[in-house]
Symmetry: C2
Subunit: 190 residues, 2 copies
Amino acid sequence: MARIKEFDRDKALDLAMGVFREHGFDGTSTEMLVKAMKIGRQSLYDTFGDKWALYRLAVERYATAETEAHIRELRGSERAIEGISAMMDRVVAEADRACLGVNSICEFGQSRPDLTEVHLAADHRLRHAARECVRQAQDAGDVDRSASEDAVIDFLIASIAGIRIAARGGAGQEALQSLGRLALRALMPR
Amino acid sequence: MARIKEFDRDKALDLAMGVFREHGFDGTSTEMLVKAMKIGRQSLYDTFGDKWALYRLAVERYATAETEAHIRELRGSERAIEGISAMMDRVVAEADRACLGVNSICEFGQSRPDLTEVHLAADHRLRHAARECVRQAQDAGDVDRSASEDAVIDFLIASIAGIRIAARGGAGQEALQSLGRLALRALMPR
DNA sequence: TTAATTCTGGAACAAACAGTCAAGAAAGGA
DNA sequence: TCCTTTCTTGACTGTTTGTTCCAGAATTAA
């Protein structure tokens, strides 16, 4: 067995992530991977198993990182609504790079239970943090109460996906900012 | 040369669409196609050229049909806002089947100019019809004026994509309906 | 009917694919 | 130094891919 060291493993995984998020699973060949990761073919198989296992790991890593980034923004402000706004702003600012989460849902839908599991876990963590934030924003009178917390969170997540698809379709930064602003408007009390 | 007749051609194209929207381009093999289309391998190549040409044609056909369906709903009601609402309702109702437009943007982004062209053409037609509808809704006081017509249309299109991604991710009908409702809320005047 | 056309099925092709094998270079510890 | 572990390299295997070729069945036109 020839596993690569823990230190480089994470770096290699990051590089694999970059390829997968741009080309998807089926659009990525093992040759693209070993070239991008700058490791030998054998190291890839010894360290990660096979292509699918590597993909699943990359999605998991991406989902974890992305979820944490969302939560960081949500909790980074005094007022909860400003946290929500900051989360959307970050999504807009980084929308030029494809989202592996959206990509993998698009590519596989519900057809791979082990993938779905990864998505659900990340979704659960994000939801947990967001629920608190939304409740606070509602208490502060910044988010309307007519929609349930869960409905609001669903809407935020769907809006994020919408922004990312728009970006992948070629929308400019200003258009994306406008999308973010309008999404927040949907939550405002009237 | 052995082309299949015009009549069956459209039917075959529809069947190909069904495969592509579920599995994407890379996830679809020619064998899956000939089986689904129930035509010989040779007929496929003679009639459509190659796999990519068939895919592009399927996307074009899908985009045309989908755009027309949107426009039909937009224009089907007396009040413009009801047309917009009907458009969203239809999206929600049919969200269980994957969207080839969203899929193809996700899979290829901006990397295939001939595909981008197809998307832009459909986008242009939809925008043209929607602009009129949004303006009427604004005149009727049903849609806020603080956002430009184009911003509103961008938002509607992004919301549709968001709803479809949510559905592909496993969201239930009620959740999708709630997403549609919240999207409309973003447009309401205050 | 006969003849031309249209379509099918199977076989074949080269290229690309995921994954394996084995030999050796590099690095580390004794 | 020698030995072991860790990693890279390139060649290899068997499968699947997209595509083409060809012989014949089915359909259509005369």
